[in-house]
């Protein structure tokens, strides 16, 4: 966490304010039509104010204040965008810093030449030796090395990277600890994952996502309607025998058009990206994050996502005439040399459950028998007279029969039982005597069932994919609480499954790491590739998880939903605000011609001028007030749509209706007290 705290410190407040002013440039502000209209209004009002001062008009004090607040409205919106950008950039910079000025040993023919990492192009081959920092994202084409990836993932244990297979991908900024590798660079300068991610948090370069475009169209439409409603007031006023000053009309327009959401829209998008980076996920496009909110099917690999990667011993079932302790002891002995996670779990279980200490092997005359594909057993020989073996049922059966023993019925039943429940039985024998069965089981990760229940409440279906047989798969599926499972899945099953769901209108998310996952990752609407996975997988997906944690998918979905919810909440809030603003400004506009319209002044604002000014000040300040919400996002709860909607409608719809009445009134009291207007 200390890394992140320090990055937050990097955001310089002077820089932010400078950026907010820079963004006043109409050429960039044009991308935000609502704020662009405000800028045109501000310029017009400013010109009128200057003319007021030259002509010593009585309106000059009022017009000046309107101009100032109009400019503040834009600056506040720009500030929000800069703030969101700054945060994202600071995080990205911290990631990028690691790769700055890395010296690369570029291979040209047989010779190496030292160049700057930033000059490497796609296809270049570099040599990285122990102690070197990998200069660019790429793929190991030769050699094997242990690599420290803590700069990216924060995980301190080194990982093995080697050519071929699923561990061939390396990331820029990580450090080779031992041996050497040759790396083929996979991206041109400025196009690496990190660069892409950085461009997603920079407002000016950021591409709008589909939903943002649709929302912008809606906001433009609303702005046009309100522009018409405001502009036509003048002819109606002339008909009614009065004239409305242009600054007042502009003030009304700016109050009415959806400046709250218009001003915060890009900040919301950038903040969504920031939240992803905070979770150590790099997204290739904003579109993918948005799609994550819509995802309604999650394809999950069983291994690593739902269960821990390895089977673990959970139980010893002794054969008739054997005590549990005896079996446990033999099982532990047979596994002492077994370095596989399964073997170690047997030792641990024997120790934890039966208190069997590890034996002092030196005292015994032992010979370890490793597992071979031919015997399909492993074990130990003690003092040349005691042979302990463990293995699959048929291997052990052959073994004891050879020695003149036989397989007891009870053991056969136990084996069957275990298999039916989705476990893996291992039979233990000592010479010709069968001692019993070890129950190896896939262990479902803690809390995963609750996560899936949450997902179900959100309307998201979870589908488990496994190569196991249907019986095993079902047992795990039931235990983990997934909605559906696909057993005996081949690599291509995922792709066809995704296509099938998509044809039925579903949006599918999945995680993957292997090269054979690549087509499915590319097909999925949200494909999260593990950073530890192959280059092919990373290129196919639209997100990369730096922590390589398969359960991240759930966090991605939540961030996507939160992003959309925040947009919806602020749009609703923005539009609901208009009601109060009409009640403030319309009676004020016509107070001279039709004093009877004062009935509509239900807030009892002091004077027409204070009413208009209060409304415009409220309109500007509410942007600042809502920046934290835009950056943090609307609080997300795993509930059904109906429940979420009721809640948010109450807060942002009804709240949006009431808050401005109170806010405008308070501002009116303050500016009257300060005597800012007459």
């Amino acid at each position: 966490m200390s890394k992140k705290e320090s990055t937050r410190m990097n955001i310089n407040s002077k820089e932010l304010i400078k950026n907010a002013f820079k963004k006043l440039n109409p050429a960039t502000l044009f991308r935000n039509p609502v704020m662009f209209i405000v800028e045109i209004g501000s310029i017009l009002t400013t010109i009128i104010t200057i003319m007021d001062f030259i002509g010593k008009s009585a309106e000059r004090n009022f017009d000046l204040q309107i101009s100032i607040w109009l400019w503040f409205t834009i600056l506040f919106a720009n500030f929000a965008e800069s703030l969101a950008e700054g945060r994202g950039k600071a995080q990205a910079d911290a990631l990028r810093k690691t790769r700055k000025d890395i010296k690369a040993k570029k291979l040209i023919g047989n010779k190496t030449e030292v160049v700057l990492g930033s000059t490497l192009k796609k296809g270049d081959i570099v040599l990285v030796e122990a102690g070197d920092i990998i200069p660019g994202d790429g793929e190991v084409i030769e050699g094997v090395a242990s690599v420290d990836e803590s700069a990216i993932t924060g995980e301190s244990a080194p990982v093995i990277r080697e050519s071929g297979g699923d561990r061939s991908s390396v990331t820029a900024g990580t450090k080779v600890l031992s041996d050497w590798i040759k790396v083929k660079i996979s991206s041109d300068p400025g196009e690496s994952f990190l660069d892409k991610m950085i461009s997603l948090v920079e407002g000016a370069k950021r591409q709008k996502t589909p939903n943002e475009i649709a929302l912008t169209i809606m906001l433009i439409g609303l702005t046009i309607i309100l522009l018409l409603a405001t502009v036509t007031i003048e002819p109606y006023a002339i008909y009614s025998g009065t004239k409305i000053s242009i600054p007042t009309l502009i003030a009304l327009l700016v109050c009415l058009i959806p400046t709250t959401i218009g001003g915060l829209l890009s900040a919301i998008g950038i903040a969504g990206m920031d939240r992803l980076i905070k979770k150590n996920i790099l997204a290739m496009s904003g579109r993918a994050v948005e799609a994550a909110g819509d995802v309604d099917v999650l394809l999950l690999d069983k291994t690593g996502t739902i269960t821990f990667g390895n089977r673990m011993a959970t139980e010893f079932i002794p054969a008739p005439g054997v005590t549990e302790n005896e079996l446990a002891m033999a099982a532990q002995m047979s596994s002492l040399s077994d370095e596989t996670p399964e073997g170690r779990s047997i030792v641990v279980l024997a120790k934890d459950k039966y208190g069997i200490r590890e034996h002092n092997l030196k005292e015994l005359n032992v010979e370890f028998i490793p597992f071979t594909a031919k015997t399909r057993m492993s074990g130990i020989n003690i003092n040349n007279n005691k042979e302990i073996r463990k293995g699959a049922i048929d291997a052990i059966e052959n073994y004891v029969k050879e020695k003149g023993g036989n397989m007891p019925e009870e053991v056969l039943n136990a084996v069957k039982m275990i298999a039916q429940n989705g476990g893996t039985p291992l039979v233990v024998a000592e010479n010709e005597r069968v001692l019993g069965v070890i129950h190896l089981k896939d262990i479902v990760k803690g809390g995963i069932k609750e996560r899936f229940a949450d997902l179900r409440r959100m309307g998201i279906k979870t589908v488990m994919i496994t190569g196991d047989n249907p019986m095993t798969a079902k047992a795990i599926a039931d235990e983990a609480g997934v909605d559906e499972f696909v057993a005996e899945a081949k690599p291509e099953t995922k792709l066809s499954l995704i296509k099938e769901y998509q044809a039925n209108g579903h949006l599918v998310a999945m995680t993957g790491d292997g090269t054979n996952d690549a087509p499915a990752l590319a097909q999925a609407d949200v494909g999260v590739a593990m950073n530890s996975g192959t280059q092919a997988a990373k290129e196919a997906g639209n997100m990369v998880d730096l922590d390589s944690s398969p359960t991240k998918l759930i966090a991605v979905v939540e961030i996507g939903k939160q992003l959309l919810m925040t947009r919806g909440a602020l749009t609703t809030f923005s539009i609901a605000n208009d009601v109060a603003k009409y009640f403030a400004i319309i009676p004020a506009m016509f107070s001279a011609t039709y004093p009877q319209l004062g009935v509509l002044n239900i807030m009892h604002l002091k004077t027409p001028e204070s009413a208009v000014l209060s409304a415009i000040i409220f309109n500007a300040l509410i942007i600042i007030a809502l920046i934290p919400l835009a950056l943090k996002g609307v609080k997300y709860r795993p509930l059904g749509a109906a429940a979420i909607f009721k809640r948010n409608m109450l807060i942002y719809g009804l709240g949006g209706l009431i808050v401005p009445f109170v806010g405008i009134k308070i501002i009116d009291i303050i500016i009257t007290f300060l005597g800012l207007v007459h």
Partner: protein
């Protein structure tokens, strides 16, 4: 008062009762299911296709559909225009009425009937022959209603279908609308109206000596046959200038009730038909409920305002407190309030009282209903498609709050739909606002006003709202038969009609091409009361945001001034 409320309640109950059978009948007609009427209608339909060469199985994409519709309506305008200017030389003209000499009046009238507006800048009995009434107006009453209905059906198809560009065949839709729906219903209603005293003849006008010894001309004509479709098709163009206040158009309280029911029958049944067609009637009821909630609010306000009346007049103590000026004693406050709410809720525009004479607030309601986009049941077809567009907007604005990109009836609402929905809102709104703005500051615009001050502005606003909204009713205070108004309102009617139809069809095309998103608990629910209330809120907020300034300088200030003792 109890009887008044009882009358309104009975009306609403009858309306709800009609909705289900008529709605499911309409759904069957347009999904080619068997109906009891097939034995008559099928042979006629086959015959029509045979002589017109329509290929029943041909499916159209939205552009072809829209193009067919526009060409068809445009040809209708030309035909009606020619008929109007040449009626003097044509038969069935016992009064020897000459062809309409003012080209802009003829144009305005032609546009008016083709766009389902029936704005009448002329006086029926003194201007048009029986042939024009029957072959021109009545035919267009059928065709314009069928056009509206077809568009609604095409939009529903967009939601029913997936992964296709086809939204149906315009010629088939319009033919089936007429043969299965409008013709039989009109026939039945005409017969009942005739039984109640609505006339149906080709006689020349009768001169009578009144009891006071005066001479009076009583206009005649084939009224009953036109009266039925005038209501059922939400056309509203009266045979006579007095429209449904005329005893030959609306003779008895029973006909008054029937005519009101006829206005809303099809528009109110369409949400149910929609629900049936998308296989979830709850969706239909949600739309219907939103319409009904708005209707009750509007009716209540009108009735309250008319019942309370004008405080200045009531102080003089010549009548009771209520506003009886401009109302038929046969119908009273309740019958008139109900009728004017119904006729402006639907884009009908038939009237049985003078809207201009209503209290300012009472007059605000008809105007507001039109300004809201004629979505409170609305015109035949147009009410539903306009309301569905509001539903898309509602889903888009607040639907995001559930954390998914918005969807409605399994269809994602994306930027294209938003663009078209927004256009369908902006186009009519800007026509009303800009048209009124031009009229209110130009001499040609204000010189024909009967009243000045805020009431004059109300009259101008009403004229543009009514023509743009294809309603056709009028605040009579504006003498609209001038070159300026005839032309500008013609433009308003065309923009208001096709400026919504084309975006609606574009949406239909785009939705038809989308996949269906399966419903889950994560889907924003659009089939419950909450959504109805939300839709009401969106309709009111969008309408209020657009028209609040204009309305506050018209009817709102007028009402406030009246309460303060000032009249216009």
């Amino acid at each position: 008062m109890i009887y008044d409320i009882l009358q309104m309640l009975i009306f609403i109950c009858l309306l709800v009762i009609i909705t289900i059978p008529l709605g499911s009948y309409i759904a069957k007609v347009f999904t080619n299911q068997h109906t009891f009427f097939d034995f008559v209608a099928k042979p006629i339909e086959k015959f029509v296709y045979k002589i017109t060469g329509i290929d029943e199985s041909h499916e159209m994409n939205w552009k072809e559909y829209a193009l067919s519709l526009v060409i068809f309506n445009f040809l209708g305008m030309i035909f009606l225009f020619i008929l109007l200017v040449s009626q003097g030389k044509l038969p069935l003209n016992p009064q020897k009425l000459p062809g309409i000499s003012s080209w802009h009046l003829a144009l305005n009238t032609a546009v008016s009937f083709v766009t389902n507006t029936n704005w009448q800048a002329y006086n029926g009995e003194t201007t048009v022959s029986y042939l024009t009434q029957m072959l021109g107006f009545t035919v267009q009453n059928f065709l314009s209603a069928a056009t509206g209905l077809s568009v609604a059906i095409a939009l529903i198809r967009g939601m029913m279908r997936h992964s296709t560009k086809d939204i149906g065949n315009f010629w088939v839709d319009i033919t089936r609308s007429i043969i299965w729906i409008f013709l039989p219903l009109s026939l039945i209603l005409s017969l009942i109206l005739a039984q109640q005293g609505v006339i149906q003849n080709f006689s020349s006008y009768i001169r009578v000596h009144t009891l006071e010894g005066l001479k009076q001309v009583i206009a005649m004509g084939p009224v009953a046959s036109q009266e039925a479709i005038k209501m059922l098709g939400t056309n509203g163009g009266g045979f006579f200038g007095a429209n449904s206040a005329h005893p030959f158009e609306n003779p008895t309280p029973l006909t008054n009730m029937l005519e009101m029911l006829a206005i809303l029958a099809i528009p109110a049944s369409l949400p149910y038909a929609f629900g049936k067609m998308v296989k979830n009637t709850r969706q239909g009821w949600a739309i219907f409920s939103a319409m009904l909630i708005l209707f009750v609010i509007m009716l209540g306000t009108t009735y309250y305002s008319e019942k309370t009346g004008n405080p200045i007049i009531s102080h003089i103590n010549i009548t009771g407190p209520s506003a009886m000026e401009g109302k038929e004693v046969r119908f009273g406050i309740a019958g008139s309030s109900l009728f004017s709410t119904v006729t402006t809720a639907a884009s009908c525009g038939a009237v049985n009282s003078s809207l201009d004479s209503m209290t300012p607030l009472g007059g605000l309601i008809p105007m507001l209903q039109i300004m809201l986009g004629e979505v409170i049941f609305g015109g035949v077809g147009s009410g539903l498609y306009s309301m569905l567009i509001d539903a898309f907007l509602a889903v888009f604005i607040v639907g995001l709050m559930v954390g998914r990109t918005p969807e409605y009836i399994g269809k994602k609402i994306e930027s294209y739909e938003m663009k078209m929905s927004i256009l369908a809102i902006i186009i009519p709104a800007s026509t009303i606002l800009i048209g009124s703005a031009i009229a209110s500051v130009t001499k040609t615009g204000t010189s024909v006003l009967l009243n000045h001050g805020p009431h004059g502005l109300s009259e101008i606003l009403y004229a543009f709202a009514s023509t743009t909204g294809n309603n056709g009713s009028a605040f009579a205070g504006l003498n609209s038969n001038t070159l300026f108004y005839n032309l500008i309102t013609s433009i308003a009617m065309i923009i208001g009609r096709f400026g919504v139809i084309i975006p609606a069809l574009a949406i239909a095309g785009s939705l038809a091409n989308k996949k269906v998103v399966p419903v889950s608990v994560g889907t924003f629910p659009t089939d419950n009361v909450l959504f109805s209330v939300l839709l009401v809120g969106i309709v009111l907020i969008i309408g209020a945001l657009t028209f609040f300034p204009a309305l506050s300088l018209g009817p709102i200030i007028e009402q406030l001034l009246m309460n303060a003792g000032k009249l216009f």
